[in-house]
């Protein structure tokens, strides 16, 4: 196993990876930008070794490949855990780590290219027998978009090739609207990304977001560790995740697990990954994209499987065999606590935390780096903690989460705790009968 590992991330992500490293007897070294270096968890004799990055903005710190690789080398780390976000899905970064003698804890750059790229990953998944949302295999012109839409069925979604954050995206409900929407989306993506290339994809109006956890070693073992339901979203941001999904039957699950295994094996995938899928009104699952990294919501899977996914990542990166017999048990729910102001349209609200209280007890897990008195820097993500509960069944899990939220107190900054209590109380959620529109239906 590695002696020292650079945790190339910050905050809650870094704290999570550090915990597993220490349990495994690995010395963690944590990257910290100038504002982050002041965090309480990085002070004192118990704190992990810190690799300080000059600067504050992400692109000068956690996204600066030269600085991150130099830090790994200067702190004598054999391997680097990218966490999630920042450089975690950057194939170039993974390739540069390899050529500079730092093991990247994640899939190979080639696999990242095969599965991280939208077009290539659709092809790979299709070849493995994973159903792929009907749509174009690449950038299309207007005529081609029309033909594909006719075949896939209206409505369709136009998406910018270089897009993100909803820019250059248009829903088209019927044929007559296509030409105008196409022109608008082209112009918008041209203006925003300097690239007007568009895809077309079937639009699922009332869909559920369901994802499958993948974990593989470098000896040809691929495990698909069940699914997570992530349909409680606010503007494409996940808020609550659970496993198993109330909407996936055993038969569908077995079918998907087998197909995803085949596709990942064919692509030479190893380490952690997540296959994101969309479930349509008729219960069919469609491949959306694959994330070549660990996800924020991975603890949900850990709670039902009893595994430590970070440990498996480290072992797979160290060439160990990952042999698993997994039987998921019970039900797990995660709530993301964000420093956001519900009064001001959930605008991120950095600031100082005066008082902090988290729940505890059996089947209750808290992921955070925060300590009372800490300041939340304005440069980064607004998520400050995750609460995860595990119980024998879904109803018990919801009850446990409600109790856990009641025990939680964050003073000094507004948070999403109240929002979570409202969702948990909602009848549709309690019945397990909801899709990605739930929050807008609740008027949030």
């Amino acid at each position: 196993m590695f002696r020292r590992v650079l945790v190339a991330n910050r905050g809650e992500v870094a704290a999570r990876v550090v915990r597993t490293c220490r349990r495994m007897g690995i010395e963690p070294v944590v990257l910290a930008s100038e504002p982050d270096a002041r965090a309480a968890w990085l002070q004192g004799p118990e704190a992990p070794e810190v690799a300080l990055l000059e600067g504050a903005a992400p692109r000068d710190t956690y996204l600066d490949m030269d600085k991150v690789i130099a830090a790994a080398r200067a702190h004598r780390c054999a391997a680097l855990h990218p966490g999630w976000g920042f450089l975690a899905e950057n194939a170039l970064f993974a390739a540069r780590c390899a050529s500079e003698g730092v093991r990247f804890i994640g899939p190979s750059p080639a696999a990242m290219r095969r599965l991280g790229n939208k077009i290539a990953s659709r092809r790979t998944m299709k070849a493995g027998g994973v159903p792929v949302l009907p749509g174009s295999e690449g950038v299309v012109g207007l005529a081609e978009a029309r033909a594909i839409a006719e075949e896939a069925g209206w409505p369709v979604l136009l998406k910018a090739r270089s897009g993100g954050g909803g820019r250059g995206m248009r829903r088209v409900w019927r044929e007559e609207e296509l030409a105008e929407a196409f022109a608008q989306a082209t112009a918008e993506s041209e203006a925003c990304f300097g690239d007007g290339g568009l895809f077309v994809e079937k639009f699922v109006e009332a869909g559920r977001h369901i994802e499958f956890q993948v974990m593989g070693d470098q000896h040809g073992n691929i495990h698909v560790l069940g699914e997570r339901e992530c349909s409680v979203q606010r503007r494409h941001q996940k808020l609550i995740e659970e496993s198993p999904s109330p909407a996936v039957t055993d038969g569908v699950r077995a079918e998907m697990v087998a197909a995803i295994r085949r596709a990942c094996l064919a692509a030479g995938y190893f380490n952690a990954g997540t296959v994101e899928m969309l479930q349509d009104e008729r219960g069919r699952l469609w491949f959306l994209e694959m994330n070549n990294r660990l996800q924020v919501e991975h603890p949900v899977t850990e709670m039902v499987t009893g595994l430590d996914l970070v440990e498996l990542q480290l072992r797979a990166a160290a060439m160990e065999r990952i042999d698993l017999e997994v039987r998921p048990q019970g039900h797990a729910i995660e709530c993301r606590i964000n420093a956001e102001d519900p009064e001001q349209d959930f605008r991120p609200a950095p600031g100082r935390v005066h008082r902090l209280r988290f729940p505890s007890g059996e089947g209750v897990r808290v992921e955070t780096y925060l300590t009372e008195g800490d300041s939340i820097p304005p440069q980064y993500d607004s998520m400050i903690a995750k609460l995860i509960v595990h119980a024998p069944d879904r109803a018990a899990a919801i009850a446990k989460m409600e109790a856990a939220l009641a025990e939680t107190a964050v003073e000094g900054v507004p948070t999403t705790i109240g929002l979570h209590r409202r969702v948990l109380a909602d009848e549709r959620f309690r019945a397990g009968n909801y899709d990605t529109r739930l929050l807008s239906m609740m008027g949030i």
Partner: protein, 671 residues
Amino acid sequence: MAHVPLRPIGRPLVDVGLSPENAQQIAQKDAALEAKLGEVRAGWGADAAARVHEKGKLTTWERIALLCDPGAPFLPLNSLVNWGRSFRGSKRLAPGAGVVTGIGTVAGRNAVIIANDNTVASGSWWPLSPEKIERAQQLALRLRAPVIYLVDCSGLFLPEQALSFPGRTGAGHIFRMNSLLAASGVPQIAGVFGDCIAGGGYMPIISDRVYMTESAYMVIAGAALIKGAKSLKLTSLDIGGPEVHVHQSGCADERVPDDPTAIAMIRREVERLPTSAAPFYRGGTEPAPPRFDPEELSSIVPADHRMAYDMREVIARLVDDSLFHEVMADRGQEMITGIARIGGLYVGVIANNVLPTDHPDEPGRMRAGGILYREGIAKISAFSRACNEDGTPILWLQDIAGFDIGVEAEAQGLLGYGSSLIYTNSTNTVPMVTVLLRKASGAGYYAMAGMPYEPVVQLSTPLTRLAVMEGRTLAIAAFNTKLDDDFEIASPDPAERAKIRAAMEETAARIESDMDPVAAAARMDTDEVVPLAGLRGYLVGLTETIWQTPRHSRNPRIWSVHDLEVLTRNTGRAAAAAGVKAARVVEQADLAEGEVAVCVSTDGTFWRRASPRDPVLVEEGADVAESTTIGLVEVMKTFTPLKAGRAGRVVRFLVGDGAAVQAGTAVAVVG
């Protein structure tokens, strides 16, 4: 240094791309090239192919397609040999000299494939066919790559035998190469598919394995020359078919029913060879495409050979992940040297920097790029030697107008510096690949490992201009006695002036047509003409072939390149010198409030228009942006755009069109 710190280079096309017209011009040239290659590939056309099929045989290209792994590219070499050349005794031309050679991937190994084109005069050997075959054999010998012969050859094309039989590289030299390959332990496998008369018969025999199909025969002389053959109804197949050579003479190993079976047997034989060592030499990394698409090269390299561009943007579009470790970046800046990976394998890159660079000794003065000056020559000499010692293959990217000339150059001893470089490249044993991106002029072409210095392969592009010098310069040299100090015609007599002018123009035009890369390829002065966008594919195939066989190479810990780098590491003084950049916009005392002078940074000639017939780039009084080109500075036929440097209005030009300028000369006032 064990881990080579490769750094991202290159910028997106939106920031560095040329006008769409440039890409269109290059696309036209590519299309013209593609049409010619298509013609060569068609051989003598559908009728000839039909005759081959009637005999139950496959055409040469069909055989190659079956032989190579599905999806793997076959990289043809010397396709355009004999292009446009006619021969006595034949009404038809000899496309590709009647033979196809190149690199193909067979059962995961890169092999040199040599296949007679049975649709061109039944695979006869024409003038230059032997040389083309020998060139491919030479490549195999240098890289120790297995050779596969697909033999279907009716012997020499006899009417022109004087051009292909007796000489040093005449047909017999092919068999010497067969022998040298065998003596060096390079595997050779032959399939005999049809007529193999005389030379065609000798070519396969030295191979380690020889397969014969039922329609194949090998004879020293065919039935036509055997006395009494007619009355005995003896055919060549009777005299030298598999019946004889497999079962009696032992000149072939195995008899197979048909072409596809022979190909399958050859593939099985290749499978028994050692697997490629390339994955080992990749050292845990994987091949990766450049981050910037090689297709973009047609928007990076100006079609007009006089216009400058950023060579680093070219490198960014050729190497893996667009990562480059530049070595000695602050020395001899007119040259770029560094290490990159292509197909996951290390390559030393030596390229001309076509942009103007700082003069090493005179702060503030700049010099034109694309020229070999003293420091640049010393730098690439040392780098080339270091790569040779390290076993790192060298990729030369030429866009070179030549050596610096003049009083200073001679006094510095550029002849000596150049000779050091020539000695280095002549004695290098490491495989070198040379790409003539655009200009390949004079001794610069030689010094940067041009064809006479035996790179394993030399590639040209449709933009390549290969000649001792540009046509106009050559005309000046040829008519020197008739010209004055400014290279103007000296004679006052109008009639004589017109005569000399016409003669000079004719000379210039002839050189211009000689410089056509297709003409060079037809003479075998370059191995293949490849579209800019196709270069990456060739380089990947060549690099993989170079590293396929275990070879002399050092790991980066013990690289000479590393020592070189440490010794030339930027000292404080060099850093300070590099910091003194010529101020492009200088405040001057006689300017009105808010006005600045735009100065040139190199010695050269200032032009306000792109060509004599074009309108001026910017009128006096016109509004300009910071990046507006207000004029061009010409040095040795290379034009560098002069930008306004700040937004404003052009108040006046201070010098006229065609004025000689020195570094620092103010040419315009912007207010």
